[in-house]
Symmetry: C2
Subunit: 509 residues, 2 copies
Amino acid sequence: MTKGESGGVQEDQPQSKKAAKKLQKEAEKAAKKAEKQAKLASENQAGDEEDFAKDRYGILPMIQSQEKLDRVLVHVKTLTEEKADQVVWLRSRVHTSRAKGKQCFLVLRQQQFNVQGLVAVGDHVSKQMVKFAANISKESIVDVEGIVRKVDQKIESCSQQDVELHIEKIYVISAAEPRLPLQLEDAMRPEAGDEEGRATVNQDTRLDNRIIDLRTMTSQSIFRLQAGVCQLFRETLIKKEFVEVQTPKIISAASEGGANVFTVSLSISQSMKYSLKFMFRAEDSNTHRHLTEFVGLDIEMAFNYHYHEVVTEIAGTLVQIFKGLRDRHQTEIQTVCKQYPCEPFKFLEPTLRLEFPEAVAMLKEAGVEMGDEEDLSTPNEKLLGRLVKEKYDTDFYILDKYPLAVRPFYTMPDPHDPKYSNSYDMFMRGEEILSGAQRIHDPQLLTDRALQLGIDIEKIKSYIDSFRYGAPPHAGGGIGLERVTMLYLGLHNIRQTSMFPRDPKRLTP
Amino acid sequence: MTKGESGGVQEDQPQSKKAAKKLQKEAEKAAKKAEKQAKLASENQAGDEEDFAKDRYGILPMIQSQEKLDRVLVHVKTLTEEKADQVVWLRSRVHTSRAKGKQCFLVLRQQQFNVQGLVAVGDHVSKQMVKFAANISKESIVDVEGIVRKVDQKIESCSQQDVELHIEKIYVISAAEPRLPLQLEDAMRPEAGDEEGRATVNQDTRLDNRIIDLRTMTSQSIFRLQAGVCQLFRETLIKKEFVEVQTPKIISAASEGGANVFTVSLSISQSMKYSLKFMFRAEDSNTHRHLTEFVGLDIEMAFNYHYHEVVTEIAGTLVQIFKGLRDRHQTEIQTVCKQYPCEPFKFLEPTLRLEFPEAVAMLKEAGVEMGDEEDLSTPNEKLLGRLVKEKYDTDFYILDKYPLAVRPFYTMPDPHDPKYSNSYDMFMRGEEILSGAQRIHDPQLLTDRALQLGIDIEKIKSYIDSFRYGAPPHAGGGIGLERVTMLYLGLHNIRQTSMFPRDPKRLTP
């Protein structure tokens, strides 16, 4: 940035002259409109008196980068007793406002933080100015100048409890339409158990107005925690010298099997790699835990002699994530807990590993009728989660050695019992968050298995061929990002942990 | 991992019994085959003599996680003088092999590192064993045990120059097919200027056999550096409290404009955010710098009064990336330089910012004929890059204030001259790597601009609506990951920096 604003060059260009004029006019029109609104706003409230504070409030023209201002704006979260009696500028949303005689209380919000502001008639503030402040629509963005003042009694309803802001200037930067499709207070209220029968907001209304729903302190916390999951995942693996790779999403065989296949073919080029990638699911996304589109945190790793080397790494990575969330994101966890109460997430070190036959035995003992090589249904998974929690006191465990029959063709069969396989799922609070396996690295066995399962060999030729020039034994798995966030926080619908969820019924916003 | 291998449960399940038996048989068959091969290998080379070393080499059965071995395998890169006279186990690929009388030299490779190995007839090694080693196909994966020995003369052809490995055991873990579709030495040779006229490998052959091409030290270095770009991007932004978000790829309006639109709508929910996302391009991917699919490192940020606040952040982030690459990835840079020689990447602090009219003036002075509001053609961009380099000695600069006519509808017009806009591109070595702008945050102006450009308002309704409830002024941009890697390293084709590139002619591998 070595150059200042030059203000552009004015030259006569016949083609664009007309368009330029038109735009100039529009800009002028917009400016005039803003001016008029500001004037109206002040006049409306002025009555007969001359307004001595009329330059201290108003609606500003749209910020179009007209000028560079050196003004320092502070963050709401920095407003504590240490700033008492200082004059500060602040940009924030009007969270709520409440007028009362000669004063108006505004709660000013920035992401998860809010502070109480007070506009009260006095030396700098006129009656008209209080009225103007009281009329600002909720969710509007304002610039305010004010003095930070210590309060005698903690303000329980705000994140900044020890101070309030005595506002002396207030300008609207971007006005919200007066009628909001949902109220933030409603959207943050616990759904069950509000004795006073106050309103809550249902899931569809939330998602139709996701832009506003994402502004609740609960949503802000959920997505900050989710960013934490991504960051902890990478931190842990980078420390272990894994390499991040980007794999293509456009693949020639568009089947789900095809997608899985493609990922795996990479593993021979690097011994340890991870990637954060977008997965697309063609069907079955109408449940509480499925989305048409989700984010997968993938790990693939060459091992030396036994795929448990990889299982240990993956489970260890998840444990690092759980610890990091607990240690760094307590504020977010507590905030979400207020709306969606939940027990803290429990895990063991080392991670509990059960084998499939043991799980079947536990379920049978609990009265479930099922075959030994049958996959777990969702209710059975959940029941198993409860049984494991009772017996081992953990919300996280590995289920190893799935029946070969219920896994994809590229899964390595168990060397000792071909009914089973070197594959595993991992569970959080009784729901699957990762599926993985030792992958077959021998092109002949891979071909045989594909043929046995009736797969068209031509379609997976480039996958099979990728193993012809020396391939190390390897295993891996994909962690569902939205599920980890949901289950760590004990939420009940994956749409809460996807910013703009996609399912068969939803493509917008 | 609290439980050992139980070996599975054997129960009679009528449906799967047959399949199980079949698999068992196959496994036995595979084992027998391996055994036979091993025997054959040793017999072939045995001649008449009894082989005293016959247990010290061979082809092992496929690793199916039969057993857990405590054996420690060392990394090639740790083989230095300090390990002299130690016995080590190593798993690596056979990079090259050369037999010479009673001895065989093997170069053993792991990613970017390699070491010379020697199998020589002696107390532990038989003639037959040397012959076996000499016959192992290149790219096969082997386990070797050997003694690390200091060498008198540096081994110039290997990364580990001060030691070699005197091999006493060698087992093939995964055999490569004897005929490789391309030779790694050829694939690593500088394309121009090989006086001896030795073979090089063309781009299509490389991409058809990307699995092998990715094994060259050049490729390994390119993708390690690329992972570095991602890591530095995140590190820099996380320090500044940006929040990582995941935006959906499935959007209802599938046009390129639509894709751009969608991203932007997020910015109102969080003041500073970044994401690493996959972008898809519908057309124009036949050039040296376009791909059908590429990775975008996106930044969106609310600003206070002027979009240059954002421009400064983005340029600063890129400068942090350049510095980090220079300081942390010198090995990779040097390795790529050996095959593709190139000048070190130059940049200024603060970053040079030019305005569009200045660029047009420079080009006109250099003899280019163009209109003031005309976009830059690719040749003109490159020429401008050379002119800027001459005048300012930098490979990185910002071109600010593009004509409004050549930017999308959601671009904020310049407040002082409506022919121009608050938008910018950033360039590395004369090629665009980022495009960005202040986005219009006023729903009315947004609607007007869309109508002026003949865009169907219905299709972007949810985008426009997202600005109705208070939206801060904001700006952002998208960095093309593959382009940054390509241009930082001075490479000439973007297919070299995409692991599995996709263009209109290529969907596999």
